[in-house]
Symmetry: C2
Subunit: 244 residues, 2 copies
Amino acid sequence: MQKIDVPHILCADCPIQHRAVCSRCESDEFDRLESIKTYRTFAANDPIFWRGEELKYVASVVKGVAKLEKSLEDGRNQMVGLLFPSDFIGHPKRRQIEFDVTAASDITLCCFEREPFERLLVEVPHIAQRMVEIALDELDAARDWMVLLGRKTAAEKIATFIEMVARRQQIDEASPSLNNLVLPLLRSEIADYLGLTLETVSRQLSTLKRDGVVEFIDKRHYRILDMARLHDATGDDSDGGFIP
Amino acid sequence: MQKIDVPHILCADCPIQHRAVCSRCESDEFDRLESIKTYRTFAANDPIFWRGEELKYVASVVKGVAKLEKSLEDGRNQMVGLLFPSDFIGHPKRRQIEFDVTAASDITLCCFEREPFERLLVEVPHIAQRMVEIALDELDAARDWMVLLGRKTAAEKIATFIEMVARRQQIDEASPSLNNLVLPLLRSEIADYLGLTLETVSRQLSTLKRDGVVEFIDKRHYRILDMARLHDATGDDSDGGFIP
DNA sequence: CGCAAGGTTGAATGATCTCAACGTTTGTGG
DNA sequence: CCACAAACGTTGAGATCATTCAACCTTGCG
């Protein structure tokens, strides 16, 4: 159920103003953004864009989580991106969108009609510059995910996923904590993100529980009991980018 | 063996001028590019950048092929990008590079020192605009590759790889033809690109030969005998973007 | 209460990997 | 010009990890 008539938030009060596509703008540039932006909300599981559809607007995620997916003809499905607050949806300069975008939770988007946004990109250098950064950051993230999909074991995939979700929640939440984290996806959705089956996801989560690395309060709420062992299980070398 | 003293090509004579990061520039902007660009060449297998190294310059591929790779600690390796002429290397706005870049063949790069290039990005809107397009196109390609890595079978992976290489060569070569194509990678490198082992790559190539879909003149030179069946074998639905 | 959706667990299967032997090509020095 | 080694590629047999198929469990809700 898409709703457009959402109370207008001032850019100055916007929770994502420091990381979104607008983050480099000056006050007069914000005035221009204020005049063209609209908010849309979607309920969990609502489609936001369908693959091949004409791309009428681009957007930043303000609140909630969206998933990007591509399917093969026979129904095999691969999630190719999970978008958290401040992440950008859409491809200015391209009329069609290449994948399905779906609300993974209730979600609020800050939307710009595509054509006015393309004009902004030409006329407001701070937008184009930030857009380059955002696209290149997404590209780096996509490449990290390629390593996961191509070379990691099922156990490493699950550990990496849990660590990544926790890191994004630490950034978004006011009070970061490892004691009350939320899995934004169903088992079958996690499977599509990691290139596994839902049964394998379930088994690997059970193993992490059994080993005392994580604890589940219910299906979606969990705690990380042993961050060090979780990180060891990811197969990555760096520190995972966590607040110590 | 890196060489810097390569004859300077005028931008006006550059083979990649219509697709590279400079493709939207006007003549006065080209003058500025001419003054700061340098050419570098590398022999096949030479490292271009190492992961973690300070990124001194960014570059466009003029001629040849480069590979981007990431490794896990235990040596598992995943190629995360294969760069053909006009593709861009580097992440302006970031001091370190996140992966290893290696010459897959003898290669010529058109290089810009990072700091002058960052200034260009701010001062020459045509550069920033084209950079957005390039980054977003790369992102789309990375997401297609995620589908391959996460959901395709070994046979589909190989077929997709061959189709992709042929498509890029059709773009680059003066006389596009399916009769004299070149595999730019060794079996082990193809394996790292597709998330397979080199033995599986070899077996699947043998199957395509046996089925009369492709023919090998030698290890690196091949013909596509049956484009339709090759495309069917990729698992993709679209037309593959080929000149009919 | 009873059903539907989501989740867990088990057993058997199978695609890909691992390990190993053998082939082929290329370049080099005698 | 040949012999040889090194690098790359192919093929086979057995092992393994993830999948498939199936049964059953849990939870929320009309």
